[in-house]
């Protein structure tokens, strides 16, 4: 039971740090939700026109404006801080998770453009935590294990799918994909590009390194501990470098939050 609680504690802490940063980033950029902003509700509501008669949707839509969303984001930050101090499995922690889930679902009504894989992983973790710590289930060990297995397997699936999709791509197999991405102003950087430019062997090595390690990542659940650790260190390095080079800071926290679950599954299978 202690191992289960410790695993959940680590998942919650890592996920919370990432979500706190991501939420604070939205608060800084709150103007994008204004009437004259990129994600103005005047335009974004078109997506929900079929739900306009639903009273629950109507209530939710009232929050979709800069003031309402600011309140949601501030509340989310407060809930994350409270969650960090609430004992894992306590009713207070579950209430914080419920609040978090509501705020995340509310903001997702308007952030379907602009959200990324880290947001999806975070949502997936929050829903899992909400379900397994619901007082009805009394946080029984079987339920807790199911939640950990789900998060760990989703994480392994994400790496495997990303790796296989790259394996079927000419650009990744040829070894040009990473240089091409680093060449963009959106996700690249001049210094990383200068390292790869005119070094086709390095490009090919990096592309195949990502393809193989991502595709084979689920093996870290079964491999002996020293080999499994190699995958996990690779995973951390990969996310750290994508944060530094590509600015994908929230991926580091969201995916690292799943590693305690992967480690737990590994210990169960060993």
């Amino acid at each position: 039971m202690n191992i289960l609680n410790n695993t959940y504690h680590e998942i919650i802490m890592l996920m919370s740090i990432g979500l706190f940063i991501s939420t604070a980033e939205y608060l800084v950029k709150i103007k994008i939700f204004a009437t004259d902003g990129l994600l103005s509700w005047n335009v974004m509501q078109i997506r929900w026109e079929n739900s306009s008669k639903n009273w629950l949707a109507q209530t939710a839509f009232k929050f979709i404006n800069p003031r309402g969303l600011s309140a949601i984001f501030v509340l989310r930050c407060a809930l994350l801080i409270a969650l960090a101090f609430a004992p894992v499995g306590s009713l207070n922690a579950w209430l914080c998770l419920t609040g978090l889930l509501i705020t995340v679902l509310l903001s997702s009504l308007v952030t379907f453009y602009g959200s990324d894989g880290s947001d999806q992983m975070t949502l997936l973790i929050i829903v899992t935590l909400f379900l397994v710590f619901c007082p009805v289930g009394h946080a029984n060990p079987t339920l807790l294990k199911i939640g950990i297995w789900f998060v760990g397997l989703q994480s392994c699936l994400s790496y495997a799918v990303a790796g296989l999709a790259k394996l079927f791509s000419n650009e990744w197999r040829r070894g040009t994909a990473i240089k091409d991405v680093f060449n963009t102003r959106t996700y690249g950087s001049p210094w990383a590009l200068s390292l790869l430019n005119n070094r086709p062997w390095l490009n090919k090595f990096l592309c195949w390194n990502v393809i193989l390690m991502e595709t084979l990542f689920p093996l870290s659940l079964f491999l002996p501990f020293p080999l499994a650790v190699c995958f996990w260190i690779w995973g951390f390095t990969f996310h750290f470098l994508t944060a530094v080079i590509m600015g994908l800071n929230s991926f580091l926290w969201a995916f690292m939050a799943t590693y305690p679950a992967i480690y737990f599954i590994h210990t169960q299978l060993a």
């Binding site: 940063i21 980033e25 939205y26 800084v28 950029k29 994008i32 990129l38 994600l39 103005s40 005047n42 335009v43 078109i46 997702s108 379907f112 453009y113 602009g114 990324d116 894989g117 999806q120 949502l123 997936l124 379900l131 397994v132 619901c134 009805v136 289930g137 009394h138 029984n140 339920l143 199911i146 939640g147 789900f150 397997l153 989703q154 699936l157 799918v161 990303a162 999709a165 790259k166 079927f168 791509s169 650009e171 990744w172 994909a177 990473i178 091409d180 991405v181 060449n183 963009t184 102003r185 959106t186 996700y187 690249g188 590009l193 430019n197 944060a243 600015g247 994908l248 800071n249 580091l252």
Partner: protein, 183 residues
Amino acid sequence: MKTEFTTELVYTGVVGLLLALWFVATVICQFRESKASNFIRHHLDTFGMIPLWTFFAPSPGKRDYHLLFRDKYADQTVGEWQQMEITEERKLWSCIWNPQKRDKKVISDVVQNLVSTMPHYRSGEGDYRLLMFSMPYLIVLHAVSLCKRVPETESRQFMLAESCGYIKETDPTFILLSVFHQI
């Protein structure tokens, strides 16, 4: 005591089943073009809870998108093309704190969505003019219409283009040219 045990057991089973279904749905939805995937994404997944894990693949996203606009004035003359700044250089601390990524991701998602829906409108299946009523088109139009203008401005036209970034290996390519929209 027995009732409590039964409730706990049933709840555990329900959560287990729910998470198993969620996992299976995630696997199915990785096959983007399949009918099942389309059904799940468009009819069941209201909150975007089914992730797509194919990061930067199969197409690694090797182009930068550019949003340009020009104005038509009351005297019917047309102004110069101006670029709406979407991408900006990242700072050293962007690996920890990077609020700018949101604007960039919004525009990038919207443009990619627009680009992916254009063939449908161009083909016999749809009227190309209906593209103007699509959500990504409206978001782009909304974004450009917010940029500064002079009082004489009557209408605005936008253009979407793509380029290959820092090292210009190919020329920028034109993607879409809108009609003039009254603003």
